[in-house]
Symmetry: C2
Subunit: 325 residues, 2 copies
């Protein structure tokens, strides 16, 4: 029945003492005020102004509206300001979820970058494996997830989730082979042929990584003998170092938690996991989320972290494989 515009007009009339004054104060024409008051009067059913001669005065009801205008309009301004602050990156919150090995360098650097640029954006971080982080995204429990997908195999499986989500590629993470130093292939150069490891004992990582291992070995023509499974890649490397088996291990993990007692080599057929940022189409357009996303992309693209992701294979420098030697 009564809206903010009406209150604004009534307040301006009270302050200016005339329709014309109110009109100029609000940037309207005089008839606009005249009609607005008339509409308000026939809505409320009672006169709001007392027109005597060429002067207008507020009636009791009109004065009541003008008096309430301050309360309503300042509350409205507060609401607008809060939204404007969120839109203008002067406020806001981003709930980020990432898998453990991304938490080491990628996420901290991105968080620092966002904090640097927009000190008023508060960022919270949760560690979660891709399946859970995407579930959290869908459940509205986080705004941005750093996840990975193994190129080729379970990308199709993820598409079930990814169709309603938007993804931004961050890094291409080469999958390498970890061998005990005593292994017969530990001292060669170049890539190790996966088929040469058909009879090895295998140590698998997280469930998805295990799935990828099975896929790759299948392509190489054998089924791996998986002796151990653990999500902890420190443990994986420990197991390998102890000579209990070999393991596929992503480059990013090696770079962050490297055990000097294992040998890392490239493997053929080459394989990688794609690390990407995931969010919903709507959240993608939230300025704070967009800023965090861009920071992630920048950090991922910076040469002091890892090779850029979307470039073609030729432009990607060879991974330094001499971790050990």
């Amino acid at each position: 029945m009564i809206d903010a515009a009406g209150l604004r007009v009534m307040r301006a009339i009270a302050e200016q003492g005339s329709f014309t004054g109110a009109a100029t104060a609000l940037g309207y024409s005089q008839p606009a005020i005249s009609q607005m008051v008339r509409r308000l009067e026939q809505r409320t059913g009672t006169p709001l102004v007392d027109r005597v001669g060429r002067t207008v005065r507020l009636t009791e009801a009109g004065a009541a509206l003008a008096r309430h205008a301050g309360t309503v309009l300042s509350a409205l301004d507060a609401a607008e300001e809060e939204v404007s602050a969120i839109a203008g990156l002067r406020a806001g919150r981003v709930r980020l979820a990432a898998f453990p090995s991304a938490s080491a360098t990628l996420v901290p650097k991105a968080l620092a970058l966002v904090r640097d640029r927009f000190p008023d954006i508060s960022m919270t971080f949760t560690e979660a494996e891709p399946p859970e982080s995407l579930a959290a995204l869908r459940a509205g429990e986080c705004d941005l997830a750093v996840a990975f997908t193994y190129a080729g195999d379970d990308l199709a499986a993820d598409s079930e989730d990814l169709d309603v989500l938007v993804t931004e590629p961050l890094l291409r993470d080469e999958v390498l082979i970890a061998l005990p130093p005593s292994h017969r292939l530990a001292r060669g150069t170049g890539a190790v042929d996966l088929a040469d490891l058909a009879t090895e004992h295998w140590i698998a990582g997280c469930p998805r990584c295990r799935g990828h291992l099975l896929t790759m070995c299948d392509q190489a023509g054998f089924s791996p003998d998986v002796s151990f499974e653990t999500e902890d890649y420190v443990a994986v490397q420990g197991l390998v170092a102890a000579g209990l088996g070999v393991a596929l291990i992503p480059d990013l993990i090696v770079r962050t938690t490297y055990n000097p007692d294992v040998v890392i080599r490239q493997v053929t057929p080459a394989s990688r996991r794609d690390i990407l940022a995931v969010t919903t189409p709507d959240l993608r357009r939230v300025p704070a989320v967009a800023a965090a996303l861009e920071a992630l992309a920048e950090v991922a693209a910076s040469p002091d972290l890892l090779p850029t992701f979307p470039g073609d294979a030729a432009s990607v420098p060879e991974p330094e494989l001499d971790y050990h030697l």
Copy 2:
């Protein structure tokens, strides 16, 4: 940029958890909500809801709007309620101004009637002679004035004021003649011929009453010898009782402040003053003012006060003139 309707929608979405729920809660159709949200989003420049699958969730900005909605809308409701109370006679104030001799019976009875019917209407009363009360009306210092005009002569003079004001006739007040008991005409019956008093000493009342005296005497063919002037009709009657002169005195005054030591008789040519309620066209439509006006009219029309005003002369009962005898 943001209006109350938008906040109402956002709050409903927050409470109901879906567009459809919000729509039914607000009595709208579902697309109305959908479009409203879209408009708000493109106005604020940031997503307000996160649509994932067939569920919607508020973003931070949307939640901010929903959170502010309570403040704004309750303030708006308070404003509406206050106006509604004024329109519904559950609140309000009427500032009444009346000339002294109306304050005796007409005004108190009307005030009592209003208080009876609408206990929450506060009425204030100021005593003022017609010129000042009309000035107060024009100056916005009162809402309703009880004034009088002498029929015929200064009605034209008042029209200058009365054109922008609206009047409601209340009473016709016969103008009578007050004589000392010792006067040669004190014992007759019927009306006294004004021309028979051409050589008397005259006592005049308020300035407007004095003007009316001059007009009447002029019509009767003489110019009165005005010996005293006072606005106090108690004094007028005292002067007459002391034999210092004769005076024209309205019936209403005699009825309220009658000095038994004077004789009151009708006079020819007959004359009267019209007592009327005056306000502005706008204030006339303010419910509280209208209620006060109606109360005044009812009191004026009630037979236990004085004869009705607008009736023709035939229907007006003869004034009781035997105040003294």
